[in-house]
Amino acid sequence: MIKEGIQASSGIAIAQAVVYVKQELTAEKKSIDDVQGECGRFSQAVEKSKQQLATLKEKTASEMSEEEAAIFDAHSMFLEDPEFVGAIEQSIKNDHINAEAATQAAVDQFYAMFQAMDDPYFKGRAADIQDVGNRLLRNLMGIEIMDISHLDHDVILVAKDLAPSDTATMDKVHVKGFATDVGSRTSHTAIMARSLEIPAVLGLEDITETTKNGEILIVDGITGSVIVDPTEEELKAYQQKKEKYDAYMAELAKLRDQEAVTTDGHKVKVVANIGNPKDVDGVVRNGGKGIGLYRSEFLYMNSDEMPDENKQFAAYKTVIEQFKDGDGVIIRTLDIGGDKKLPYLPLEDEMNPFLGLRAIRLCLSKPDLFKTQLRAILRASAFGKTRIMFPMIGNVDEVRQAKAILKTCMQELDAEGVDYDHQIEVGIMVEIPSAAITADIISDEVAFFSIGTNDLCQYTLAVDRMNQNVSYLYDPLHPAILRLVQNVIVQSHKKAGKFTGMCGEMAGDPVATLILLGLGLDEFSMSASSIPQVKKIIRSVSYKQAQEIANKAMTMSTGKEIRQYVQDTLNQLGIEVM
């Protein structure tokens, strides 16, 4: 059975399916007569949960670190807690209700208690209680806990969608591909797949229902299709296609140390987007010589508490030192709010989070939090070329305010005698149309622009890219987007020494490469795995040709027309794109 979805990460994977379903647990309340038996059932579930946690702890400690394993100790202690366990046993004995309902009630009670606390740390522990509670309930109901962190064979992960916590804990050696019900090219799952360089097809609508555990699945991330339980012939054909693809990738790998330069000598930078210091390996492997977008929020999201200055400094320094002989590192300051939240930083619920208090707006409203990060970046800048980028800038005043805070940090460091790069360049991410349109005004205050096409498209086209009913309207090649991109590039080039980069998904899309090159984009920043292909396209044409292609595309009226034109051109030029 062939199913079509959204092509989210290239490549072909063939493996057994693991259907990762997070079942809703509903504890039905029943009266019971056999109190003794019910208490026994409960103790068994507690014991089983403790054993599972001990195993998890041991594995995490040996594969990750003692520190990351400690959470399972805390979970075990909940299960030994006289008040928690006592409350459940009491209500089984006194109210004659089943263990599931008693457990649920105790979990709800403690959850509410922690949730109501002011201290964000304790508030965050509410989730741990729920975790332990769910484990107990699953064991009581006999529902297997799906653990994707330790697998013993290669699998395709089949899920409704994957949350950051799922992709963080999953077994990265054995997960060979993703197939999901929902999602788009720009959803978290897609971005993770590309950064892990594994094939992914998303938005398959009902793949979790049509696939059984253990069935063979082919994920074709090149065309965006999935074959469930393939025939012998299909299997054979895809094994060949996989070999051909792998050979193509091997050819691209040879470009690793070549420059991104056109046939007539026009040089651009092809660099990478990363979220963590450990992503650097993939960048180097793919021939990236710098970082065009370091998403600093992952440092905050992967932490139980606000990362302090030293912790941030260490993370930034690790990355900066890696590229000190290359193109340097652009660190984007904290981009939280919208769809990204921190457990320890309570924010008001907003009607329209994407139009609300996020990114630079949030940082300007919390100068202490912002200063901690800026100080850490400044200190790290002593170890290699570093640039600072402010996200979600909508007007020039915000740039001035952010720069004023940066200046205060510099003065503090001067007074403390701490070294940093006094010439550090400051730029902005262009993702709000107002910033793109007023690039001429803002360019007086910045050294560079970096166009964030994901949000720029969303805000310009008024399309929620996660909403499947309207995601067809999301098109980076829409003439409106191309005009904004062109304006930003043109304005930045009017001032000596200033440049424009792009760090949105569009920068790594082979169909957009020729147009962006022709419009004069200086820096292309993308998932590491897209680097070789984009470099290959750039090296296949002259700058003059690219300019002609861009000029022609700018006269066209729809994204569809432009896409067709570029694809035809790539074919004519004999540039193979997988």
Binding site: A70, I71, D73, A74, M77, F78, E80, D81, P82, E83, F84, F110, M113, F114, M117, D118, D119, Y121, F122, R125, D128, I129, E305, D308, N310
Partner: protein, 89 residues
Amino acid sequence: MKRQQVTVTNKAGLHARAASIFVSEAGKYESDIDVIYGETRLNAKSIMGLMSGGIGQGATIVIEANGDDEEEAVDSLVALIESGFDEED
């Protein structure tokens, strides 16, 4: 009965890690042990009870033990809190 007042100095207060060390230590003693924080009395052997107190850095608490080993219990728990749980900054 033995009681002693102590101020929590470690940065994160009695959070998961510190609370779990504290509860493990309390569990070694036969005595009933309570932590009194403001108006609330918490069971020192219950991690949830203890954490529900929301005891942060700078909080002053009273440790109270009742039983045969109350002396040792209070002394060791006070010493543990004063040690700051060996947290790194």
